[in-house]
Amino acid sequence: MKEPFVETRELSYRYESADAAEPRVLRDLSVTIGKGEFVAVLGHNGSGKSTFAKLLNMILTPTGGKVFVMGKDITDENMTDEEVLALRKRMGMVFQNPDNQLVATIVEDDVAFGPENLGVPSKEIRRRVDEALSELGMSDYATHEPHRLSGGQKQRVAIAGILAMLPDCIIFDESTAMLDPVGRKEVMDAVVRLNREKGITVIMITHYMEEAALADRIIVLNDGRVLLDGSPEAVFEEEALLRSCGLAVPQCTELVHRLREAGIPLDGACVFPEQCAELIMKSLNKER
């Protein structure tokens, strides 16, 4: 196992506004996420994914349990303001609606917002902004107004804004949910690249199984608990269990499962369409 980056111990949370009869949103959640890992978090609506994400950077304070980031207990009551800022710098977060997370009227000013808050010297901010924009292929739009960009472009600007803070980890809370297929691909390509090339730990909350398949590991939340935790191959094998909590598997995985049920021998796991095609080819060749 890689060196742990985030660790939650019996983490639980209850919204203050929720009435007492309602169960806690998170119930004794214990997971460890390694440094540089790409983890997808799945779960049906209301299963507590966003709550989980917000607990990791102290936007919400847990009602029970602990969260450790790089070995440091961030739920400690004696955390100073500086430590909270340092934590948020480390754990960047990108949200669903790109319109609601861009602050400035010019792309590059928006990307500069985070470093400016951190008190980074001006020259260094300039350098980081240029680098972050070029990393996400948005250099040509540096002086554009965000509201004239496409959804995928806006979301890339939002990611650049986080990247300019030089985070160790980025949490994406359904960041592709409002995008069209083109925008979704743009964003996913960027996410995968940041993880593979820059070694940034990625925690990706999503409803798209095809996106989750790209991760190293999938954590499935159900009613505030971990239902499944493993590689995409292993998690998608549990089709029945996933279905019972309102989730599906990628179409290609489903196809392979159905073919198997129909008595066609296909062995091996499949999470990508290419793998699916290969499995079917293999079985056809065997028959011949």
Partner: protein, 273 residues
Amino acid sequence: MKSIAFGQYYPADSILHRLDPRIKVILTVLYIVCSFLCKNIISFALLLASALLLIAAGKIPLKVILRGLRPVLIILIFTAFLNIFWTKGETLLFGWRFIKIYAEGLYAAAFILVRIATLIIGTGMLLTYTTTPIALTDALEDLLSPLKKLHVPVHSFAMMMTIALRFIPTLTEETDKIMTAQKARGADFSEGSLVKRAKALIPILIPLVVSAFNRAEDLAIAMECRCYHGGEGRTRMTVRRLRFVDFIPLALVLLLGASLILLNILGFGYTMR
């Protein structure tokens, strides 16, 4: 695209675009003062000339400027009209029954036209067209920063302004969407009495306000995630240092003001009372 009542930044590379925004804010104030110093025909000619000079210096197409004047066109025409027909003077140019037009009326109309037009062109050229809203709010924050000592939340106001500017297009778009949605459900915004039409706006305003609150909540969380914690310890990507050239326009406007005062004392040509 969305046309918003106040002028919008027009990207170009010009002297005015490069001028320090703080200077531009001061220049705008001085320019407004100048336009009110004008009393006679020569001063108004000077004012008009300075507005034209500003247009040339800002490299903004005339089309854009005329578009900026359009919203006030009615007011312009109306005030000119009032001045022409209502001003009583000594030299009667035209008289027919109760309609009497005096030379003084024509002058007054021309003066007021020039004054309003130059005011709009001046503020537009110096601020809205050539200064990004961010640079403008930064400049205001800088200029007002002495007030921080009196515990005036200057940074918060500047931040609020920036966010308002950022969200105007988003909310405009949203209003369009809601209106279309309500029209599809049979709402009618264009017919009926004033009360009826005002009532028809309620189903637009309520969703708009609700969504604005949701956006505000989202934005607040996103800003917190990006380490926003007020103005303290904040740096800026673009730090502006005043250069020598930034003072030249300031000197020019002061010169303009001085000449206007001088002209008032000397009283050339027709002088407004």
